[in-house]
Each structure stands twice: as structure tokens, then as C-alpha cells.
Homo-oligomer: 255 residues x 4
């Protein structure tokens, strides 16, 4: 069985500019995630905003099975033509995992069709995550509930599309709830949004968070990598009655 | 009860350039739709591509409850900033009805998150439309099945989001099937996609098609016209334990 | 416009046997609900477990647009043939609102296809209800969040069907979350499950709870009251080629 | 990797009583399916209506990962207590594949919550099946469309729950359409309904049909085999404020 080729994309700005964040993720949170989910099944690469083409060249995208995305303060700096390429790859079957503040990334909003807006508060409060669909492959090995002692709060209403299949719902110390883990499909591609992961906390060292992301990679790996063709169909499968001179002729029967 | 303010937007090119189409819809298909659905409940206006701002000024959008959209050959000419405004209005509650080839319009793709691609064939073949959810408000007064003698074929797979709630599924003479009437919600806005309506046929004079569009207008009319705010939340509803000096302070309790 | 005919069904045992409950709902919680939602649009009747046929005769069901159901300790005493009748009426278009512990009622489980199981705790803790779909008709006039100071806790995972369209999600003081308001359709009938309403608390005097139930009645009122026929189809709509002597003949073309 | 343990259940009456059917499926259609999907990944057993307990003893159900079900004329003869056991096993994670006329079986109706009704016609007409979600694991290796030359017609509206995720939609020669392949989840169990398979035709020798069923088995195999407990929760995860003497005491904090 061939490995799942994972590319972890990170904005990678906070970790270079903010001393507190640098202390937690000295090599960037993408490296913490990559180290945390490393296993025989995955082949892991990295890409970041400030590389040429944000590290997402055609070659990289063509050889990526699942793309993990973390962006926050610089969504607007991600170039539209790169986003359009990523979108096309998802429609053609590439998996996508959007983490935390990526709910406002161009790619998530474009694929979801929504604003991605929500309420938030940053006081390092306790988040309790509940698994609401224990039979979902993304929940494999995850207990009914687990806690992140310090996280940013995200609160409902969360402006997402209604095919959001909930796997996790969060409880926050300050009184909010949030659909924290939800799945989608767009074209042939599977998309998983997972809420935790503020840069100021040690979330990406949490064993449960890493296991959810690993499960997400396995779930989002393509079953079919092919374009959804917009195709003019010459001829028909079943015979079409003669419509006379006012209409184009039905072509050759196809099979 | 106040009237539902409907704006019917049409590309309005085929009817001016193509003699065959002009004969069918001499004043444009938007006028045929508007005349066909006219009733005491609706206040109807029109807007077309070649007007300034495509006829979709702030004033028009602010006073539109439901926008009906028909585009085909000139999707690319619709300016991005106008599309962004329409998208925001839908997120804030405005209803949207996308007809026929509008599956490839910028606004439908942006709100749906998909490519909108499908198969098609134009030989004027017979389309038989089945109502699969007779209890849906959009199906009120529509029989189990009705026929359009001449239509363009659209065939599955149709690249749409999976919250597509099917109301109608079509059978085509040449052997294809298609989810012809599907509903979505994005933000506060309700969206109805309805397949029929090729410019070369008399579809928008069909009594059943007009009734479906009328029902769609009533269903998509806003229940709430308000932004989904992306809001920083000062303070919390429930008390948050003291996190010490390493974390931002929890604000004032909200209520 | 004719009134919506509402029948409120209550087990009506706790209120007669338990002094604490009797003090809160001296005439039964069905009467508190009925008084609380009374308005010109509704025509309200009551039915209870210990009446003949549980108060749900053919005549009552035939003239009920929306049935509200509250059961708790005596689900097993509801006779199967009455439940089957209610199920058929929902399939044929009657609306159903299941309150609180009715998640384990025969009728909810039969229509949902699930066990309806969940976690619970009864310490009178604070429940904070969040509206996650403010544009849903059931959320009309409901604020983003409201509080019930004392309620029984229901916690995820909640074993319900995945077409559960969430309108409300609850936060509990003790750390749990719950999909508290969810909608379904079965056959032609619309179903709304709403979580609050333990008999030991004053929940059915809460203005927000009553407004949600009123909105639910309006939303669940039938658009179509007709059986989904299981019908042998004589003849076909489109011509069928001759299959020879081994197959039954295609009948007369239907239209 | 351990094998997927498949039990194929068949009513097995037509094949013994009807000469035409016997000629097509001399050992019963369950054996044709079992032979057709046999591979190293599956361990296949059979069970039929007229065996003691319909062949579905506790021992059999406990050691079944995926149950395939074909019933038609004798749904009413399947004993309720056996159906209840199967339902519980599905809620606890066992996969279920319901074929053809099993849309009216007790088990499908109980798990779906619907009547399962539809239109039908038996003239051996042509069915053309379209794959509408080519990226779904059940569609692996299945072309965009394939034909069954002779099948019974099933037509919309199909009374099923609205979480029906469509994988296949059928076109029929006589003018009908049908959601022919749809997936559900109930509790921890995955359910796949697949339409083709009338006893009078050679459908279960068709390579595509067999591949769809094989894919269905792999997709429905349990990820979690565990009950959804209905559990009273002693204590709470988060501290609960003192409610005074009028309320039950909050228990011990759980963790």
C-alpha cells in the first residue's frame, strides 16, 4: 500500500515574530503537527506562505494527497491564483484539512460557500470537546470527551454550509458551544474542519488533537483523483425521437 | 402583509442577438418570467447585465427580498465586486433563485463551493420532471410528474454541495437523470436552484415552471435580514477561572 | 386563513402523583403549554395517556394539524396500534413536536429510526441554549442565547438520525453539550425535537421556550396532507420496447 | 488484517416455488450473491427465513460484521423479536445492506423511520444507473453509467429519510427516476440501500451490481462495535454551583 502524501501548509508568521509563540513552536506549528502525526503510513512535506508560490507549486499539489492548512492573520496575502489551484485540486479529489483560524481562509470560504464567521474570545479558557459521532473514522481511538486546558474560544452561530456533518462539538468555560469538527465533500474532495489550534497554546502537542488530525488525513485521502468534467455530450445513450428541422439532430447513440 | 420584493436579473444577450430566441422572448426572458409569476404578493423589478453595475446597485440590493438569476454565455463579464455584494446580501438573508445555466454563474459557484459542472446536450429532447418531495413548499400545487417537450439536457454527475435537498429529479429522453430542483442555505439566505430554462425553448411560458418559480420566491423570502457578525466577544456569559499572568484576562461577565 | 389545529398530548402522571410537580403544573404541563402558546392562529386541544385510546382517536388525529408530545416514565404503556396510527398520520403530513424525554418515546424512535439514547443528570443545573441557525423559522424572535436556570442535563452523544438539522445547541453547567433543537422530515410530515421541559422545573412557563414551541407549530403545520402511495403502476409514461414473450407486456402509455 | 464477516440473508421462497426464478437462481439468490462477491477479504455465511430464528441467532449476529438483506413477499413473517435484535446490532455498529424489495422490510422501515413506499412496474424494462458521487467508496471501479437490460421499475417519490446520501440514481425506459443507491447511519451502524435485484432477472450475476455490493460491504464494515449507552451520569465534569435544598445535589466531579 502506497503512503498518503501529506503537505502541511502554515502561514508561519506568528512563530517568527512573537516571542511567546516562538517559545511554544520554535520551528513553526507545521513542524509540530508533522512530527506529531508522523508514522509509516504518511509521507510528510511542508509549505509556508513566504515561500515562492506559497510553497504550493503545481508539482507539490500534483503529488499531495491531503493538504493540511493553518492560516490566521495573513489570509489576504494568499494569492488568488494559488487558491484557485488548490480549489481545483480539491474538486478533483485532493483531501483538505482546515485547522482553527483557517475558517476565515480564502480556500475554506470558497469551498464552503459561506463567510465562515463566528464569535471568539481569547482568554485561554478551558475547552471540553465532545465526540458526537463515535463511529466516524475520524473519531477512532478518541474518548467521549477530552479537555484542552487553554484555548481560544470560538462560539456559535458558526456560518458554515449545512452539509456540515458534526463529529465533535465543544463546550467552553465561558458559556459557548461550537461545532468543532465537521466534514464536507466538494466535487471529489473530502474536507475536514477542526477547530482547536490557537498559536499561543500548546494544542498541537496534545495527543488527542494529533490523533484526530491523523484520522482526518486517512479519512480525507482520495478515493478518486479525477476532474468532474463539464462535457458536451455528442450523441445520446438512449434513442431520441426526431424533433424536425427546428432542432439540432440527436447524434449517434453512444452505446 | 408587505409584498415580497423580487428582482429578476437576466444576462439579456441571446434575446437581442439571436433571431430565434428573440422570437420566443421578444422583451427578454426576465420579462416573460416576471409576467408569468406576477401576483398581488410580489413587487417585481428587473436588472440586466449591460446596465450600469449590471442593474444591481446598493439601493436595488438593499430593497430586494428575493433575487432571481439567469446567466449563460457571459458569466465572466459579471464584475467580481458586484458578485461579492450579492453574496454578502445572501449571507445576510436575501433569497436567491438560480435558473438553468446559472449553475456556472460566479454567484452560484461562490455560494455553493463547487464547480457546478455537469453534462449537457442540446437537441430539444423531452424532459420529464419528477417531484421527489411533494410536501416541500416549493412543490405546492405541482403534480407528481410533468413534461417539458423540448429542453436542453443536463446530466449527472452534477458537481454540487451535498446539502442539496432534492425537490425535483429529471428524466431525459436520451437516457440521463439530473437533480433539477435543489435547495441550500448559506448564512441566513435560502437558495433554490432550478434546472429548466434554456433560452431556445418556451420553458418560461410553462405553467408548472412558473408555479415552481413562484413557490421558490415565497420559500426563499427572508425570515431574518441581518449580518452573521464576526465578533470579538468582550467578557463571557459564564465565569472563567483565573488563568494567571500568562494569559489574557477574562473580561467582564456579559449578563 | 384557517387555524392550525394543535393537539397537546401529555403522559400526565407526574403531575398527579408527585407533590412537587403538582405544585408547578397543577393542571398538567400540557395545560401550561396550551395556555402559554394560545393565540388566534391556533385551535388547541388536549389528550392524555389515561384517556381511552390515549385520547388519540381517529377523529382526533384526522383533525389534528400538529401533535405536541410529552412522555417520560410510561412510554411502554402507549399502545402499539395507537403509535402506528400516529406514525401513519405523520407520514401523511401531520406535524409532530417531541418535547424533552419524548426522545425515548415509541413514536420518536419509530420515526427517527434510532434508539434516541443520550446521557443525563438531574441536579437542576443551568442550561444555556444557543441558536445556531437564526434564519430558521423556528428561531424567529429568539435571541442568540438564553438561559434556563434549572434544568435536567441531556448530553451528547445523542443517538439520532443524521438528517437532524440543528437549530439549537445547549451548554450545561456541568460540562456537557447537546443538540437541543433539531428538525426532520419523514414522509410528508415535519418533526421538531426540542430538548427542554423536565417536569420538576418551571420550563413551560419560560417565554422563550413557549415562543420556540409556537414557532415549531407554525413550521410543522402540513403543506400537504396525503398518503405516499405504494402503487403498482399500470402502463408507463414513456414507451417501452417490446420485450418478447418472456416478460409481461408494457401496458397502455399513461399520458 | 482480519476478514470482514458477511452474512447474506434471503427470504428464499421464490427460488423454491417459482420455476422461472428457480432456473435463474437454482440455489437461491443469496448463493449467487455470495459466489459473486467472494474474495479473500470476506468470510461469507448464509441465513434464510425458514431456518430456526430465520438463521439469525445471537451467535450469528454477534459474529457478523455486515448483514446483507433480501426480502420481498414474506416481510410480515420475519418475527419482531429477531428484527429488534438486528436493529440493536446495527445501532451497536453492525453494517447493513438492504437490497431491492427490502425497502419494505421491517428492518429497513424501522431503521429508516419511513414507510419505504414507492411506485413500481414489472415489465422487464431497461434500467440505466448513474453514479452521482464517483468519489464515494461504494462507487470505486464503477463507470459513470451502466445498464441492466431487464429490471423491475421503482419510481419516485421514494419515502425515505432525508439523510439519504445519493450514490446512484436510476433512469427507467418507461419514464421514471429513482434514488437507487443511498447511504445512512443509525447509531454506530452504516446502512446502504441498493435498488436492483428483482428475483425474475439475472441481476445478481451482473458484474457491476456485484462490485457495488462488494464495495458496500467494505464501506459498511464497523469502525466501532459498541452500544450507545443510555446512561445516568453520576457527578459532573465541570463544577456545578450549589442549588440549595430544593434540587438534587450535584454529585462528585468526574475528572
Amino acid at each position: 500500500m502506497s503512503k498518503i502524501r501529506v503537505t502541511i501548509w502554515n502561514e508561519f508568521r506568528h512563530e517568527r515574530k512573537n516571542e511567546g509563540v516562538k517559545k511554544i513552536y520554535p520551528e513553526g506549528l507545521h513542524k509540530a503537527i508533522g512530527t506529531g502525526i508522523a508514522c509509516d503510513e504518511f509521507e510528510i512535506r511542508y509549505a509556508t506562505l513566504d515561500e515562492p508560490d506559497h510553497g504550493l507549486t503545481d508539482e507539490v499539489l500534483d503529488s499531495t494527497d491531503v493538504l493540511i492548512w493553518w492560516g490566521h492573520a495573513a489570509h489576504a496575502e494568499v494569492r488568488d491564483e494559488i487558491v484557485a489551484k488548490v480549489q481545483q485540486h480539491v474538486w478533483d479529489g485532493m483531501g483538505l484539512i482546515c485547522l482553527h483560524s483557517s475558517h476565515m481562509s480564502k480556500i475554506f470560504r470558497l469551498l464552503n460557500g459561506t463567510s465562515g464567521k463566528l464569535h471568539w474570545r481569547e482568554v485561554g479558557e478551558r475547552e471540553r470537546i465532545w465526540c458526537v459521532n463515535p463511529a466516524h473514522p475520524i473519531a477512532a481511538g478518541i474518548p467521549e470527551t477530552f479537555v484542552l486546558e487553554h484555548e481560544e474560544m470560538y462560539g456559535e452561530p458558526f456560518c458554515i454550509a449545512w452539509d456540515a456533518q458534526p463529529v465533535f462539538i465543544s463546550w467552553f468555560e465561558g458559556g459557548e458551544v461550537f461545532r468543532s469538527g465537521v466534514t464536507f465533500q466538494r466535487g471529489n474532495g473530502r474536507i475536514f474542519y477542526f477547530r482547536p489550534g490557537h498559536e499561543a497554546y500548546r494544542t498541537f502537542y496534545n495527543e488527542m488533537v494529533l490523533r484526530v488530525i491523523s484520522n482526518g488525513v486517512r479519512w480525507a485521502a482520495p478515493t478518486l483523483r479525477a476532474p468532474y468534467p463539464k462535457t458536451h455530450r455528442e450523441g445520446s445513450y438512449e434513442p431520441i425521437s426526431d424533433k424536425g428541422v427546428d432542432f439540432p439532430k440527436a447524434g449517434i447513440i453512444l452505446n
